[in-house]
């Protein structure tokens, strides 16, 4: 009887082996390298089974492939297309995507119920969530504070370019202002709102859901910029009126006795480019009686106070950058990222 018995061969790794042990490295990366032919073919097979949209792409790739490879692959592709086609609709077994009609309807029913109950659950969650949120007062207002500033007229641009002698260039500003000031008409204000004492908050205690009264802000407060005496708001004379309003914030109160003031100046360049600005109301401030704001739902007729800037003497035929700032306690006007908080920058270019 002959037997095979290995003696112990002591050295486990003799010389020469160090190189060969990693000769499979390239295979290691196979799963990351899909440039190989089979991979691509397989890819297209995979994608085909996913959805119909992919078929389009696939066919494109297919064309490229065929161009590159010539005739022999054509048949293979034809075969593959047939396979895909059969997968989509197999007339023999009356199956689509490898499922019968019965199977599909079962799936549809089950998914219908699943999604219906999911929808019910999410609705319940949402409903209970919004029950907890007051419709009168926002839960948090820290994101909308400090107040931003906006001007009127506004037409997608803060650059006022117009030629005094060509009404077409400024007519749309006038229309815009007129439209904006409709809500400020004296008659309307007198009818809807109350005349409340100036210089103090107009505080209305009571339940949250009680309707609140609003203070009048009449168009006539704006004097020369009201458009009542000069229906062109000074545009026809090269002395444009620009209305400035502070963004509404529920519960916002300026510092007592120190109403928020507006002041404008040339932002960059010669200070004297603007020689005079008239403010209406003359105090150039937002009176305290317009605060606090109680929210849209109860404070229905609230009218935002305005400050009109009448640029009566501005250098003509030249772009003048203007910065209007709010000033007052609790007002921030130097946020770097937000150029509309407490300030606004626009340009005037009045041609004659």
């Amino acid at each position: 009887m002959r037997r095979q018995l290995r003696s112990r061969r002591a050295p486990a790794f003799p010389y020469g082996s160090r190189y060969r042990l990693d000769d499979q490295d390239e295979v290691n990366q196979n799963y990351l390298a899909d440039e190989e032919e089979e991979a691509e073919e397989e890819a297209q097979m995979m994608m085909a089974s996913n959805s119909e949209e992919e078929k389009e792409e696939e066919e494109e790739e297919e064309k490229e492939e065929e161009e590159g490879q010539g005739q022999p692959t054509g048949n293979a592709w034809w075969h593959k297309l047939q396979v895909i086609n059969e997968y989509l609709w197999d007339p023999e077994r009356r199956m689509s995507l490898a499922r019968t009609g019965q199977s599909w309807s079962l799936i549809l029913v089950i998914y219908f119920f699943f999604y219906a109950s999911l929808a019910a659950v999410i609705t319940l969650f949402m409903y209970s969530l919004f029950l907890a949120i007051s419709p009168y007062m926002p839960t948090f207002t820290e994101r909308v504070k400090p107040p931003g500033v906006m001007i009127r007229p506004f037409a997608h641009s803060l650059n006022f370019n117009f030629n005094v002698s060509e009404p077409d260039t400024w007519q749309h500003y006038v229309i815009s202002l007129n439209g904006f000031l409709q809500g400020y008409n004296d008659s309307l204000q007198e009818e809807m709102n109350v005349d409340c004492p100036p210089g103090q908050y107009f505080i209305q205690d009571g339940d949250e859901d009680e309707d609140k009264k609003a203070c009048q802000f009449k168009r006539s407060f704006l004097k020369n910029c009201s458009g009542l005496e000069d229906p062109t708001f000074g545009y026809s004379t090269g002395q444009p009126c620009i209305l400035l309003k502070m963004n509404r914030i529920v519960g916002f109160r300026p510092e007592l006795g120190d109403p928020v003031k507006v002041s404008c100046k040339v932002q960059r360049g010669d200070e004297n480019d603007i020689r005079s600005i008239n403010y209406y109301p003359e105090s150039a401030s937002f009176d305290l009686r317009y605060y606090p704001y109680y929210g849209k739902l109860t404070h229905v007729n609230y009218t935002s106070p305005l400050v009109a800037m009448h640029f009566t003497d501005v250098v003509k035929n030249q772009v003048v950058p203007v910065q209007c700032q709010l000033k007052g306690k609790g007002i921030i006007n130097d946020v770097i990222n937000d150029r509309f908080v407490g300030r606004i920058i626009f340009t005037l270019n009045i041609e004659t």
Partner: protein, 1033 residues
């Protein structure tokens, strides 16, 4: 690729021609061993035109320009070294590092992200041309995408490089040295520096450093097993004995081992020009196939990329139809792709695989190729070598026969538990013979080492006997000293016995004791009496019959049987002063007293039967492929369970029923023992049939080419084949196999190079551990992928809704990347630590074409169930934030244009408050953060539910996998850091989120958990139902 294929075919072709050649010679030679040798040599001979063995020393000197006495001069050697290169196997062509790196950069999803990044830049370019003050957002996004791709690429590359480095450090352990004569001086130099013409000295235990033509030899024996698979010692001398350089005695080959003796020789071939070098290059011609996991991952990448691209293009078209600007539509397309692509997943998979690789390395399974980690798990057939893998690779006494009785000896690894009856007088005599008639000796200085681990100088059977008697009798060396040896005749193949004469330790007994062991039939011939119960009896016919029965029985077990006898030389004839002479044999060698038989076997490792049973229950077929004799192979196969106790081969049935083999119904036999001879006559179809029909197969006396054929046969059955082996001759099969495992201790370099895995302890049960780990990682990767895919829907929905319903954008593209590469990374790795849900070793191996890593169920459940629930939950948080700040959900619809307008600085909310553009922007970022937190919170639930696929989480244990909790903690910490730590950096689009918003999605998270528990419950309650089929992934 094509090139490589050609090479594969050429090897196959090669194997085929080998078979033909064998057939041609079949008639002349019956001995299949002979055939095997010839076949192999035939193959090598083709390239081998070596005539150095025929040359005389003088001719050699002139041919190689050297001097046998003085050796080469150092300068000449240096010249030759420069000319022929170092004496080492050239590494196979390696992919340059830069290519590997670039592959990582463009593989998988990377190409998609590159496209996204480039589109971003192009979009910005177009915007910039039309409006130089265009926002830099798309440039940022493009840059971030590029950075992401580069970072993940670098990471993957680093992981790969690390696992390669482990190997590199591992194999640099022993630098080989060689003793060489140069400039008339003996020098020890690194074997790599040997050149042709060097005169080298070899001694027992050395590895032959190159192909060497021997010039002189003293008792030199070599083990050529690394070359031929035959481990029988072959003697080597300086004489030219055979035309064939492979058979002549005066050439020894690179990487074979010198077992004993010394020799001096001249180097005739170095490095790649050695025989081994040529075989190794043959093996490297066998191409590698893609690992199963690579195929699975590719499949998965294609699914996800397909979904991403198709959804992206669909919505691009929708966006264009909805009159969006084309540039915006491109940005949407990019966002959708980014949302859909799990950027961090491939890195996660790599980490998971390398974690498993590490765990396996701890269990003595060193995996060279990360992907091979999983291949073991899908293995359905293991072709195992016998010697050393299944067996302990050392002869051990298994049975004894004396007093007409068979005793069983302990063959376990420590061997200490020898429980047979030792009271008989026969045993006393027998043990004395075993101890004395033995030339093997322990290596001195190892007294403290356990007996079984001590190094012994001597051949395998003598070693076995020495250890056996050392265990039972105690200090054998001492016994030998007390019984002084006077003369001995060592074993040789003509005598077939070994004899020695000793003085006895009994001072009163002046007789000499003659002890003898050898082939049982030869020993019996020399005996006239037999010892029974300590008394000599005449050896009558019945005793001889008993002897034969015992001999046959032990032989039938595949064991090597030795007979023992002794004889006390009469004191009158042989006085103390008698001078014995081993040459003339002036002492009696007949009419001795037969004492007993002893049989040895290379016993199976004690862990193997268990491991084989585990493989069985795991649905893995274990096939034994060995070069050993069929009887031994079958005996070992039976004892380890490769052939189970109650199954029979065709031959067994024939023997039992007493009919001819041809009459047996082949279907009755479960097991088959096939020899190389039979195999070579089989057509591939017959082999397929054999492999398919017999669950238990043993291939014996197989050649390397046949191993390759067997592996290919298995692969034709769609099986994932693991092969274990150790010799150079195994390397083609190792390479061909889906996963080759080389033996770490006995394995040859070539085998280790060809293998994907190295069993550091040469133990079969390590493979089983590997299978278990491989299956576990496959399951866990499923979980990881399911976990990662889920949030894709939650990431995708915001963009779709933004496009279709015009909500302010719920989450930004960069924020998404923070989920994919921030909060989700550690949790998805944590799933790799998950323990198995049930006994993974009790199920069938996965079918490599049917059981995909990412299947339809997984995608549907992740995308359409949990993913959708997650999206809803995240929207809930988003809506809450907006509503509490003043924008109720109803007012958000179709708000997009106003919301995104930079000029609109008094946008009214539901409370009549007016918002500047930047205030809205900031709110939008808060919304991003909220959506992000919503997804994060629900991903915690997702992580927990993904711990199991079928069992309840509570059965699995919430706290058993601690890493999951590390993952959850990391998610929360990263989110907190992003929100509160980096919330002030506007570029990252994170804001400080109010504490309460962190909890809005919690009920939803709980809902996800409950829903998944229900899913699992129904799967467990109704196995095989519609639910099970569609909801189990």
């Amino acid at each position: 690729m094509r090139q490589r294929k050609l090479e594969i075919y050429s090897v196959e072709h090669h194997a085929a021609t080998d078979i033909k050649k064998k057939e041609g010679r079949d008639g002349k030679k019956d001995n299949d061993l002979e055939l095997k040798r010839n076949q192999q040599k035939e193959e090598l001979k083709k390239e081998l035109d070596l005539d150095d063995h025929k040359l005389s020393n003088k001719e050699l000197e002139t041919k190689y320009g050297t001097d046998i006495i003085r050796g080469l001069s150092s300068t000449r050697a240096a010249e030759l070294l420069a000319q022929n290169g170092p004496n080492a196997l050239t590494p196979p062509k390696q992919t340059p590092e830069i290519i590997k790196f670039l592959k990582q950069m463009v593989g998988g999803f990377s190409i998609l992200l590159w496209v996204g990044a480039v589109l971003c830049w192009i979009a910005f370019g177009i915007q910039y041309v039309s409006n130089p003050s265009a926002s830099l957002d798309s440039v940022y996004l493009g840059t971030v995408l590029a950075v992401v791709v580069i970072l993940t690429g670098i990471f993957a590359y680093y992981q790969e490089a690390k696992s390669t480095n482990i190997m590199a450090s591992f194999c640099k352990m022993i630098p080989q040295q060689a003793v060489v004569i140069r400039d008339s001086e003996k020098k020890v130099i690194p074997a790599e520096q040997l050149v042709v013409g060097d005169i080298v000295e070899i001694k027992g235990g050395d590895q032959i450093p190159a192909d060497i033509r021997l010039l002189s030899a003293q008792g030199c024996k070599v083990d050529n097993s690394s070359l031929t698979g035959e481990s029988e010692p072959q003697s080597r001398s300086s004489e030219f004995t055979h035309e064939n350089p492979l058979e002549t005695k005066n050439i020894t080959f690179y990487s074979t081992t010198c077992l004993e003796g010394t020799a001096t020789g001249m180097v005739i071939n170095t490095g790649d020009r050695t025989i081994i070098g040529r075989i190794a290059s043959l093996a490297s011609g066998v191409g590698n196939e893609k690992t199963p996991i690579a195929i699975e991952i590719e499949h998965f990448v294609h699914i996800v990329a397909g979904v991403a691209v198709s959804v992206g293009i669909l919505f691009f078209i929708i966006a264009v139809c909805m009159k969006y600007h084309v540039l915006d539509a491109i940005i949407f397309l990019i966002a959708i792709i980014v949302a859909n692509v799990p950027e961090g997943l491939l890195a996660t998979v790599t980490v998971a695989l390398s974690l498993t690789a590490k765990r396996m390395a701890k269990k003595n399974c060193l995996v060279k190729n990360l992907e091979a980690v999983e291949t073991l798990g899908s293995t359905s057939i293991i072709c195992s070598d016998k010697t050393g893998t299944l067996t302990q690779n050392r002869m051990t006494v298994a049975h004894l026969w004396f007093d007409n009785q068979i005793f069983v000896a302990d063959t376990s690894e420590d061997n200490l538990n020898q429980g047979f009856d030792q009271s008989s007088g026969t045993w006393t005599s027998l043990s004395k013979i075993i101890a004395l008639c033995n030339r093997a000796e322990f290596k001195p200085g190892e007294e403290s080492v356990p007996i079984m681990k001590r190094v012994v100088v001597g051949d395998a059977s003598e070693t076995a006997l020495l250890k056996f008697s050392e265990v039972i009798l105690g200090d054998v060396m001492e016994i030998r000293k007390r019984n002084h040896k006077v003369v001995e005749i060592p074993f040789n193949s003509t005598n077939k016995f070994q004899l020695s004469i000793h003085q006895t330790e009994d001072p009163n007994d002046k007789r000499f004791l003659l002890v003898m062991k050898g082939a049982p039939e030869r020993i019996l011939e020399k005996c006239s009496t037999i010892m029974i119960n300590g008394k000599e009896q005449p050896l009558d016919k019945s005793m001889a019959q008993a002897f034969h029965t015992a001999y046959m029985e032990l032989g039938g077990l595949g064991e090597r049987v030795l007979g023992f006898c002794h004889f006390y030389l009469p004191a009158d004839e042989f006085p103390e002063t008698y001078s014995f002479d081993s040459e003339s044999m002036n002492f009696p060698t007949s009419n001795l007293c037969f004492v007993g038989l002893l049989s040895m076997i290379d016993p199976p490792r004690s862990t193997v039967p268990d491991a084989v049973t585990k493989c069985r229950s795991a649905g893995i077929k274990v096939i034994m492929v060995t070069g050993d004799h069929p009887i031994t192979a079958k005996a070992i196969a039976k004892s380890v369970g490769i052939i189970s106790a109650n199954s029979e081969t065709v031959e067994d049935i024939a023997k039992r029923c007493n009919i001819a083999v041809e009459q047996v119904n082949k279907r009755d036999a479960k097991a088959a023992v096939v020899t190389g001879m039979e195999l070579k006559d089989m057509s591939p179809e017959q082999l397929d049939e054999l492999l398919a029909n017999y669950p238990e197969i043993v291939f014996a006396r197989t050649s390397p080419q046949q191993k390759l054929i067997i592996v290919e046969g298995c692969q034709r059955q769609d099986a994932v084949v693991a092969v274990t082996g150790d010799g150079v001759n195994d390397s083609p099969a190792l390479k061909k196999a889906d996963i080759g495992g080389a033996m770490g201790i006995t394995g040859s370099d070539a085998a280790k190079n060809a293998a994907d895995m190295i069993l550091l302890d040469d133990n079969f049960s390590s493979i089983v551990t590997g299978v278990e780990e491989g299956r576990l990682i496959f399951d866990n990767l499923k979980k990881t992928i399911a976990y990662t895919l889920t949030k894709n829907i939650a990431e995708l929905c915001p963009f779709l809704i933004y496009i279709i319903l015009g909500l302010p954008l719920p989450i930004g593209t960069i924020t998404l990347l923070f989920i994919d590469l921030g909060t989700d990374i550690i949790p998805s790795i944590a799933l790799a630590y998950e323990k198995a849900e049930s006994d993974i070793m009790n199920r069938k191996p996965r079918h490599k074409k049917k059981d995909r890593l990412v299947n339809q169920q997984l995608a549907v459940y992740s995308y359409l169930h949990i993913g959708l629930m997650q999206a809803l939950g995240a929207f809930l948080v988003y809506f809450t934030v907006y509503a509490q700040q003043g924008f109720r959900p109803t007012s958000l619809f179709h708000l997009r244009i106003a919301w995104d307008s930079d000029h609109l600085n008094d946008l009214e909310d539901n409370y009549g408050q007016e918002w500047t553009s930047y205030q809205r922007q900031y709110l939008e970022w808060t919304g991003y953060t909220a959506f992000f937190v919503g997804i994060m919170v629900q991903q915690i639930a997702d992580l927990i539910i993904r711990k199991t696929r079928k069992n309840s989480i509570f059965k699995q244990g919430l706290f058993r996998n601690k890493v999951i909790w590390v993952g959850i903690a990391s998610q929360i910490i990263v989110a907190l850091l992003l929100s509160y730590g980096l919330g002030s950096i506007t570029a990252l689009n994170f804001t400080m989120l109010k504490a309460q918003y962190w909890f809005v999605a919690v009920p939803h998270a709980i809902l996800i958990w409950v829903y998944d528990e229900m899913r699992k419950l129904f799967i467990r309650l109704y196995p095989g139902s519609w639910w099970d089929k569609n909801m189990y992934y």
